[in-house]
Symmetry: C2
Subunit: 121 residues, 2 copies
């Protein structure tokens, strides 16, 4: 399997059932990483804002609690999508940003957005 395969090649592979959802399909791990109510929005927000403080991030995610934001960020960090930069100041100062791996999700958002513009009223 080639990571440079074209869309047409991809579709062909899918139709042939070479890529299965359960087996060697690389989509599943990503879906697992993005599971949870807030993960996607957090990543999206980091795409928009670049580097951002915990408090600011919380403000842009209407409704999220400290607990959920913290645990989501920890998991995203563990999965290598987000990195945490800690400034040793008082009061504390922490910033979050996407890793290369996380930023590479932008084409996924792009595909979703194009779908949305076409199929959502």
């Amino acid at each position: 399997m080639d990571q440079d395969m074209s869309y047409e090649e991809y579709v062909e592979q899918v139709r042939k059932g070479i890529l299965t959802s359960s087996g060697n399909c690389p989509v599943t791990p990503l879906l697992v990483m993005l599971q949870g109510k807030w993960k996607f929005q957090i990543i999206y927000e980091l795409c928009v804002k670049g580097q951002i403080r915990f408090g600011e991030l919380k403000k842009s995610l209407a409704g999220i609690t400290n607990t959920m934001l913290t645990s989501s960020l920890r998991e995203l960090e563990r999965d290598g999508l987000v990195s945490r930069v800690q400034f040793n100041e008082i009061p504390p100062h922490v910033e979050y940003l996407l890793t290369k791996r996380g930023e590479a999700l932008l084409p996924v958002f792009y595909a979703m957005t194009k779908w949305g513009f076409e199929y959502i009223p």
Copy 2:
């Protein structure tokens, strides 16, 4: 906003914060539609198999229960991603397939797959 915008235009819009995750971003509704443990796999399976019977679909989704498959399919149908074709026979015969709207998700899968091949060991 233009549905024909290029990836570069899209990234620019994102950076400018024109598309927000909470507001006019068309990604959120899609994410909602795809929420749940099995939705994505179901759609993927329908991509692979084309048109498929309930029982066959269940077999290809290892571990899913009748209840979950039914309720997931109902919701996907309600959201216009899947259509149900009922043959009036005894014993019952029902087939499921993607709508145009559902098939249009393939580019999203493609983007995810490309990400996976590059960033998953």
